[in-house]
């Protein structure tokens, strides 16, 4: 059984129709890419899964259970972790508080994420633990948002453009993090940065104008020069 299954999802923002029948599968242990340009519908797909956007048609299921229409906090508790694209750390709280408040959302008896494990994975954050969210740089904020979501021990992690607006050095750091996290967590990764995604994913969906236009393994996607040009390229 797949961790996540989307079938014919149709979503709207107010009056604008954004997703036109998006279907995709995320199998356990995989990193699945959701690739497309700005405005293609990547964020809306992730928001439709976590319930910030309520799809008006189709179904979303997590481990075989229909989660469409549930309030987001229940979906999160079931094990879907969402990392928003615009970061949104809790600006008035310290790095440590940003993490600690998460520890009782979905605790695991053993093997769950703890603040210590997070600090092992993100040594930078350990140094900054007493800094407030608003005093961090963009890259540091991005790390906090990923770490914060890991603290709820998600079975599936939804990552929305983690490299957006970040300098190359930090992008490389984020890549390292994802490679660590994938060992224990299934990941659905939305990105427009193709090069970044291809090294990471097992399988990918290319989305354009709210529709899945192409899917395949990283190799298949990389080999399709025509599609790269048409949907992603310049």
């Amino acid at each position: 059984m797949n961790e996540l299954e989307l079938r014919e999802v149709n979503s709207y923002y107010g009056k604008s129709h954004i997703l036109f029948g998006v279907s995709l599968d995320v199998a356990q242990g995989q990193v699945v890419g959701l690739i497309g340009r700005n405005g293609a519908g990547k964020s809306t797909t992730l928001k439709s899964i976590i319930g910030i956007v309520q799809p008006r048609g189709g179904s979303v299921s997590f481990r075989g259970k229909d989660i469409c229409g549930m309030p987001s906090h229940r979906i999160a508790k079931m094990g879907v972790g969402f990392v928003p694209e615009d970061r949104r750390v809790f600006s008035d709280l310290s790095v440590l508080d940003n993490l600690e408040i998460m520890q009782n959302v979905n605790p695991q008896r053993e093997g769950g994420w703890t603040v210590e494990k997070i600090f092992d994975l993100f040594p930078k954050l350990a140094q900054l633990r007493h800094n407030r969210g608003m005093d961090l740089s963009g890259g540091e904020q991005q790390m906090v948002t990923i770490a914060r979501t890991l603290m709820i021990n998600p079975a599936v992690l939804l990552l929305d453009e983690p490299t957006e607006g970040l300098a190359p050095l930090i992008v490389r750091e984020i890549k390292r993090l994802i490679q660590e996290v994938r060992k224990s967590t299934t990941i659905l990764l939305a990105e427009q940065n193709l090069r970044f995604v291809l090294d990471l994913i097992d399988y990918g969906y290319v989305i354009d104008q709210g529709r899945v236009v192409l899917q395949g393994t990283a190799e298949e996607l990389d080999a399709d020069e025509q599609a790269k040009e048409k949907y992603l390229g310049v």
């Binding site: 923002y13 009056k15 340009r37 453009e161 940065n193 090069r195 995604v197 104008q209 390229g233 310049v234």
Partner: protein, 249 residues
């Protein structure tokens, strides 16, 4: 002389530089696209020009006159029109009334307290002209909130034209549109550009559209201007390819 000059503009929010030492200029009657990945600073670029933010550093000139630091309405009254990425109308007013606000402002009629607004033929004529230009004449009496998304975006453009701007800034004019609506919007922009001779600067995520109509393209990445050139130059520029497809790891 350049109609718009951006000189060494930096816009910081806390520690983050949304724009970093951006330098560029736009000549009259250009049709310039500003592109870049999400978060590259495109909307901030517009917000700095139209006075939502005062740049942390650097200057903005319109027709040789410095405009950074002026109020929004003062900047608009210099001759700049702006439409918005997220639809930003007067939702409970009719389409005609939406356009009429800007027309009244432009004709300096807004302080008339005792004149019936429905009996102003010059205003009505101008409203009709603009509605005609953006193909919304049949919808004139509908309440704006009930229009389709595509029509709302057209109304946005109509409202940006009410002050007879010399410079029109369009923020993501095709955002949220289906393929057919996008095609129509492109036609409309070209049409306005040809008919009114206005200079247009627009941000856009749809690169096909950008390449089909722009006379010049500016590329932003992480707040920096990484390329500035004709469509052909931009298409070939390796830095731009990298910005979109990712760095070679």
């Amino acid at each position: 002389m350049d109609i718009l000059q951006i000189q060494n503009v930096t816009m910081s929010f806390g520690k983050m530089n949304a724009l970093h030492e951006v330098d560029c200029a736009v000549a009259p009657h250009e049709l310039v696209a500003v592109i870049g990945p999400n978060g590259a600073g495109k909307t901030t670029f517009f917000n700095v020009i139209t006075g939502k933010y005062k740049p942390t550093q650097g200057q903005v000139f319109f027709k040789g006159e410095r405009i950074d630091g002026l109020t929004r309405s003062a900047i608009i009254n210099k001759g700049i029109g702006r439409s918005f990425q997220v639809v930003n109308l007067f939702p409970d007013l009719t389409v005609a009334a939406n356009v009429r606000i800007g027309v009244l402002a432009h004709q300096k009629q807004t302080l008339r307290l005792f004149k019936n607004v429905n009996k102003m033929p010059e205003v009505d004529q101008e409203v009709r002209r603009i509605l005609n230009l953006v193909h919304l004449t049949p919808e004139a009496d509908l309440v704006a909130a009930t229009l389709s998304h595509g029509d709302q975006k057209c109304l946005e453009m109509g409202m940006a034209l009410t002050n007879h701007p010399e410079l029109l800034l369009l923020d993501e004019p095709t955002a949220g549109m289906g393929p057919e609506e996008t095609r129509q919007a492109i036609e409309l922009i070209k049409d306005i550009w040809n008919k009114t001779g206005v200079t247009i600067v627009f941000t856009e995520h749809d690169l096909d559209m950008v390449f089909s109509i722009s006379t010049r393209v500016l590329v932003l990445q992480s707040g920096r201007l990484i390329a500035d050139g004709s469509v052909e130059e931009i298409r070939r520029d390796p830095k731009v390819k990298e910005a979109y497809l990712g760095e070679e790891a």
